[in-house]
């Protein structure tokens, strides 16, 4: 098993305290797990590729737009039937479906991105730690690769607010 400290906290605030303390002690590798978006989850400097999401949604939207255009123009051309005296390719009419598909694709890509990316990010925290978190318990994980015993002790002290701390 990996070398890490798993501290379990009973309430969000003590977890937040501990994390702040760790940061002051220049422990930057700590991670926190919580079942609700307490402020504590923002005490670890917002890890993860979340900035990508906006771009992904944008690209998805544009894809949808072009798909709609292609579909409408191509099929209308292939049917080549006049209705109500309107031109075969009448953009005003096509606009609606373009908009809908843009939105649809943007949404889908955004969601898919979320699912896949979070699947990756959560792997940086050990499964053991992930099992610990429940509604009324927050978990702080501090990896201990190559740090001395007294350093570890120091960290344990910083985590003193925890209900329990497991190696």
């Amino acid at each position: 098993m990996r070398e890490e400290l798993v501290a379990v906290f009973g309430d969000p605030d003590s977890a937040a305290h501990a994390l702040r303390a760790l940061r002051e002690d220049r422990v930057t590798t700590a991670r926190v797990l919580s079942s609700a978006p307490f402020p504590a989850v923002h005490e670890t400097g917002r890890p993860g590729p979340w900035r990508a999401l906006g771009w992904i949604a944008l690209v998805g939207g544009l894809t949808g737009l072009s798909c709609a255009m292609a579909l409408e123009v191509a099929t209308s051309r292939s049917m080549d039937l006049i209705v109500g005296g309107k031109p075969i390719v009448s953009w005003t009419a096509f606009g609606v479906v373009m908009f809908e598909l843009t939105m649809l694709f943007a949404g889908l890509s955004n969601f898919t991105a979320l699912v896949i990316l979070s699947a990756f990010t959560r792997r940086s925290v050990s499964r053991r730690a992930r099992r610990e978190v429940t509604t009324d318990r927050l978990v702080v994980v501090v990896p201990l690769e190559g740090c001395s015993a007294d350093r570890e002790a120091a960290i344990r002290r910083l985590l003193s607010g925890a209900v329990e701390v497991r190696p």
């Binding site: 080549d80 039937l81 898919t112 699912v115 896949i116 699947a119 959560r122 792997r123």
Partner: protein, 180 residues
Amino acid sequence: MRARSRTKVMLALAAAAIVGGLAVARGRSEAQTPSPAPTSAGVGTVGDVPFDHTIHAGKYGIPCLDCHAFADKSPVAGLPSGRKCMGCHKFVAKEKPAVQTLAAHVEAGEPLRWQRVFSVPDFVYFSHRMHVRANVACAECHGDVAAMKTVVQQRAFTMGRCMGCHKERNATHDCLGCHK
């Protein structure tokens, strides 16, 4: 790990659902145009006069229009009358038992019942006349009948097939050309 595999599962399921849905839809639309099942019951009368295209059209190379005489003047191609059959068989192969039964039928004035192989749904108005006039070879739709002992429909008459050919030859693709 497990999370990711679950994701995959989910996506796979979704894909399957979509594909399946389309498949069903397609099936329904096919069902709408009854594509005639290739019939093994030979083309011929109630059964006792077996007719063989390989001999007539194949071996002796009799042109289609000789027997299907209306193909160039009517929407329906038509079938040879008993008298027409006898026109040749009075002299040709009259010793063959099948031909003798045929003769008997015609003598008794019993019409031959021919098995239907090709058909289009009742909302489609196909005109042999216009297609023959446009020099569409019979085989293009009916297949190489001359080589078939029993005529079977190899490809269903789907609308896509009609449209394909019409676009190719840049014939009308006005719906009212076939649907009236």
